[in-house]
């Protein structure tokens, strides 16, 4: 055991030790940084990949079309509608009295590149780094926006379903008896419901959006953690230190969350990356099948489906495969490192 470095941090020694253990795991540590970088990049997707220029200098004035909508007339055009900065006419007008700075990728996720020299899907080129999909939309831009939706979806689903699942498992395991018995039977029935059919039936009535899919997957996803947490609570509720806590006047809530839950956390945290990757996979597969996000939404699953439909354009399939595999691998590496960091018996060197 190395002594914790005495520094005026506000972290408790336990959390300091966990942090040190996490950072000692190089693979997980770097996976976290890569994942954070990808996530951060995707959060700023509008600035990186957009069909509007980042900055326009026109007639002595500065314009920022990404953040503000300007009519075509502002640049000497004829229409009151928003300027189409990809239109050669507008480009010509602006170039007469100023200049434009474009984002690194001059396409948004739904921008159709009309200047393709070959029929879509077009292979990688200087303009479209990873080519275009079968509707002439830039693959990099769609990946960037698709990653954002996938990660946000996975994170939200993981957090909400974990909170519900942990609470349900804790109550069952801690109180046991009839509560446990009734709840378990309910879960057995509930988990028997065919969730995919429910989604297909639902998509016949409504156009499922992000929140509909989140809610619907949440109805089933919360059960993933219940068994693990319940088992840990059933095991721990007869531990001497739990008895001692009761003798020391701790309330049920304190015993559950201060004494039992932290010991159930290793098992729980071990599952979290799998729930996260499972959530991402769930969205990908729904999009792949066409029951997911509305048509036109940027999505990894939709790109995968295009790869399958256009085997003559291997860049679609390969790109989506590599990106999905990378995302899921990063999540698992991070999860492994977190799990080891939470293990009190694990000693690093």
């Amino acid at each position: 055991m190395h002594a914790p470095a005495p520094r005026p941090a506000r972290l408790s020694p336990l959390n300091r030790r966990r942090l040190a253990n996490f950072m000692a795991n190089k693979r997980g540590f770097w996976s976290l940084w890569i994942f954070m970088a990808i996530f951060l990049l995707s959060l700023f997707a509008e600035i990186i990949a957009n069909e509007r220029p980042a900055l326009v200098r026109y007639d002595g004035g500065f314009y920022m079309p990404i953040f503000k909508t300007y009519p075509e007339t502002a640049f000497g055009g004829e229409f009151e509608t928003e300027a189409d900065y990809r239109d050669p006419f507008v480009i010509g007008k602006i170039d007469e009295k100023g200049w434009m700075i474009w984002p690194p990728i001059a396409f948004s996720y739904n921008t159709v590149n009309r200047n393709l020299s070959v029929p879509a899907p077009a292979p990688p080129s200087a303009a479209n780094w990873l080519g275009t999909d079968d509707q002439g939309r830039d693959v990099v831009a769609r990946l960037l926006y698709g990653l954002r939706i996938s990660i946000l979806f996975g994170l939200t689903l993981t957090v909400v379903s974990s909170v519900i699942g942990i609470a349900a498992g804790a109550v069952q395991g801690y109180f046991g008896g009839w509560i446990d018995l009734g709840f378990q039977r309910f879960i057995e029935i509930w988990s028997g419901l065919p969730r995919l059919y429910l989604l297909i039936i639902l998509s016949a009535f409504i156009q499922p959006n992000f929140w509909w899919l989140l809610g619907l997957l949440l109805l089933f996803e919360w059960m993933a953690l219940v068994d693990v947490v319940r088992a840990e609570f059933l095991r721990a509720r007869n531990f001497d230190y739990v008895r001692a806590a009761r003798a020391l006047g701790a309330s049920d809530a304190i015993i559950m969350f201060r004494h039992v839950l932290p010991n159930a956390m290793v098992a729980t945290v071990t599952f979290l990356p799998f729930i996260m990757s499972g959530s991402v996979t769930a969205l990908v597969s729904l999009d792949f099948l066409g029951f997911g996000l509305p048509a036109g939404s940027p999505s990894l699953g939709e790109l995968l489906a295009q790869g399958k439909a256009n085997l003559q354009a291997p860049w679609l399939g390969i790109t989506s495969f590599v990106v999905i595999a990378l995302l899921l691998s990063l999540l698992v590496f991070i999860g492994e490192a977190v799990r080891d960091a939470f293990d009190p018996r694990k000693v690093f060197r």
Binding site: M1, P4, S12, P13, L14, F239, D240, Y241, R243, A244, A245, R246, A247, L248, G249, A250, S251, D252, I254, R258, H259, P262, N263, P344, R345
Partner: protein, 346 residues
């Protein structure tokens, strides 16, 4: 202390009333079998024990493993719900209280467990473990907690700089000291010590027992000291109760128990205690057979199957607890009181 005393307590009983009074306490565990969880029988773990414990006194509870002594301790603390019987703390009945009503009384009675490994939360630092009860009862906040924990650490012979360590970084004896510090943190008047030294090395046992005795002298604690080691019990106890199959068979002060054991079972137990004198000749009483099952206990006196003096009516009639000498109670047909006026255990 005054705050936790119940208003129902009779004022006259303030001095004479025992700190803890246990009357006919029973704990029977149901054995369930089959699909429908039918009750197939009971384990008579504790079957009607009665005793009192005065302030500042140590009562040793001894017996073989499986005789129900640990269950008795946990039932008194209501860590296990008793089947029947009465437990009074300072004259106030507590065995029928709900969790919420029980809370003020929890401060008065604390527990030290047998296994110093499983009784400390591995995810809390030593300081947090000892300080937690203070937070539960809102007795201290902020730096007061650390001060109080440091004080308790000093009292049990640990260094305050060990507060940031985790239980697994301590030795068994140090862990047991932590358990004692945690029990002391609420300033209890009664500590149920559930075989606190049986998991420790012999050399460490002595340290911990002496620590418990020092703390008793300093804070006026009462101990219910559950153990199977007669030498340890003899060292720490004022009075000793011997249990056999869920019942107390003999209850008396330390001196008369060791000088004049009356129950045949106590005799046998005492004859097994080694004496550090090779010249001393002693008749060793070897009990035949095993302890009968606490599920199907023998009729009559539970000890008759192994008793060297058993007579015919021992197999039929259960002996009652009788005061054979003043303050010396025994449950045996063969020991009749010297004075005709026998009275029940008070």
């Amino acid at each position: 202390m005054a705050a936790v005393l119940s208003p129902e307590r009779a004022p006259a009983a303030a001095d004479s009333a025992p700190l803890l009074e246990v009357v006919d306490l029973k704990k029977h565990f149901a054995i369930r079998k089959g699909l429908l969880s039918r009750v197939a029988g009971y384990v008579y773990a504790v079957d009607g024990i009665s005793f009192t414990l005065r302030a500042g006194e140590t009562l040793g509870l001894v017996g073989e493993s499986g005789c129900g002594k640990s269950t008795a301790g946990k039932t008194i603390l209501k860590l296990i719900e008793p089947t029947s019987g009465v437990v009074r703390l300072r004259g106030r009945r507590i065995n029928n209280l709900g969790r919420r009503d029980m809370r003020p009384f929890r401060r008065e009675m604390q527990v030290v467990f047998q296994d110093p490994y499983s009784s400390l939360n591995p995810r809390m630092t030593a300081g947090d473990i000892v300080g937690e009860p203070l937070i539960n009862y809102n007795l201290a906040r902020g730096s007061e907690i650390a001060d109080r924990v440091a004080y308790l650490f000093g009292k049990v012979g640990l260094r305050p700089d060990q507060m940031i360590k985790y239980p697994h970084e301590f030795s068994g004896g140090q862990r047991q000291r932590l358990g004692i510090a945690r029990a002391l943190s609420l300033n209890p008047s009664l500590i149920v010590a559930d075989e606190p030294v049986s998991a420790l090395d012999v050399s460490v046992q002595a340290q911990v027992v002496n620590l418990l005795m020092d703390l008793q002298a300093e804070f006026g604690l009462s101990y219910l000291f559950v153990a199977h080691d007669l030498a340890v019990v003899e060292h720490i106890s004022h009075r000793i109760a011997v249990m056999y199959l869920g019942r107390i068979v003999e209850l008396t002060d330390k001196q008369s128990l060791f000088a004049r054991p009356l129950h045949p079972y106590t005799e046998a137990l005492l004859s097994a205690v080694p004496i550090p004198d090779p010249q001393m000749q002693r008749k060793r009483i070897i009990l035949m057979g095993d302890v009968p099952s606490p599920i199907n206990r023998p009729a009559g006196c539970h000890f008759h199957t192994r008793c060297p003096y058993a007579e015919a009516h021992c197999r039929v009639e259960e002996p009652a607890m009788q005061e054979v000498h003043p303050g010396h109670f025994v449950a045996c047909h063969l020991r009749q009181p010297e004075t005709p006026a026998s009275k029940p255990v008070s």
